[in-house]
Symmetry: C2
Amino acid sequence: MTPKKQNVSMSVIRRLPRYYRFLSELAKKGETRISSKELSEKMGFTASQIRQDFNCFGGFGQQGYGYNAAQLCEEIEKILGIQKRHPCILVGAGNLGRAITGHMPFEQLGFSLIGVFDNAPTVIGRTISGFKVLDFAGIEEFYRERHPLMAILCIPQEQVEAVSDHLFALGIRSFWNFSHYDILMKHPDAIVENVHMNDSLMTLSYKLAQAEQKNTSDSL
Amino acid sequence: MTPKKQNVSMSVIRRLPRYYRFLSELAKKGETRISSKELSEKMGFTASQIRQDFNCFGGFGQQGYGYNAAQLCEEIEKILGIQKRHPCILVGAGNLGRAITGHMPFEQLGFSLIGVFDNAPTVIGRTISGFKVLDFAGIEEFYRERHPLMAILCIPQEQVEAVSDHLFALGIRSFWNFSHYDILMKHPDAIVENVHMNDSLMTLSYKLAQAEQKNTSDSL
DNA sequence: TAGATTGTTAATCGATTAACAATC
DNA sequence: TAGATTGTTAATCGATTAACAATC
């Protein structure tokens, strides 16, 4: 029930969603039994690592048999807390905000979207994916009534400081941030996950540059 | 000039974009000199790590003085290869695709967007951020003429396999992928960066669940 | 020169892998 | 029982931090 090992490292946690996706695919296909060896071949981790990872939370395997895919999924769900329905709001109903509002499966990821906000008069009042876009000016009242726990920020870089300050003042402590503004610098006690698209693209640029260099030296 | 140390680890590389962003902000503000100590205080890495990181590429610092922000930026640019202009295409002009087309500063990140594709008749021909959306059916001819090096996939999960296979067959070896489909499983020699939004949100869910648990046990 | 700060080596820490006894 | 595969301990590997001599 309770994690066996306290302080499970973030490296392990960050692998759990991948296990989860893979195992639920498997369970969907009707597969029940899976061994760490099989998993390792299909996912590219070592069998040893997989067993270590799962054991951080207490053995759900069975010696001589392996793991049960569906049960494993359920355990990972519990660990990640994705059976929860943390109420959240989304700020910024531009293209990115609309993509996320429409396509992110919040209910399967531990959250539930309860409001979409923007401050542009041309956008306020429009309906996107069933959500009527609300005026950000009314956020205070909304917060008092609904108490969202997390805010998704799909707004321009230069507005993130002001908006996160405002939300923080209301009581929101958790952010999913799509810009590069570092919320943690100002609010070290906030819970933040960043989606650093630019960084990810720069990393890709590096890999390409490396490959090019290799090609050049190969052909010499 | 050439990297001092061969095989710089990916952990280092993944920190470079953060340094880069921070240092270019600094340079923009007119700051020239910066020491590893100052950087460590402002960025939350240790001074030791910063010096180690920069030294993987050969010392651009000066004892007793520190580093020159602008010069450091330039060096990181070279390492990441973001002065390059790798031609790339974007496939999928939905909300996400439009957000990326409009807001990703490709030219500053090592790439240049040369075409936007979709297969929906309602979208083909429309202009988004100056790009006329092209019919994906014409990709072969486009490839022959322009030779894009990388493809950005902003398409539904279930289409990624077919689309990446198709592009791979044409000769594209590098992908920036916004779905969970694992391109590397099928094409191990491809160069791929994934933006796993779902995983990132699940990780946030975990952090929230942890915080809740802590709060509960604190108040007991 | 004295002070500061790098470059670099050595020490520590953490994460991954290997090995194998426990047991289904 | 024999075979398979986990749970777990020990060994290895890599990344981070500490320390300090080199030098601007």
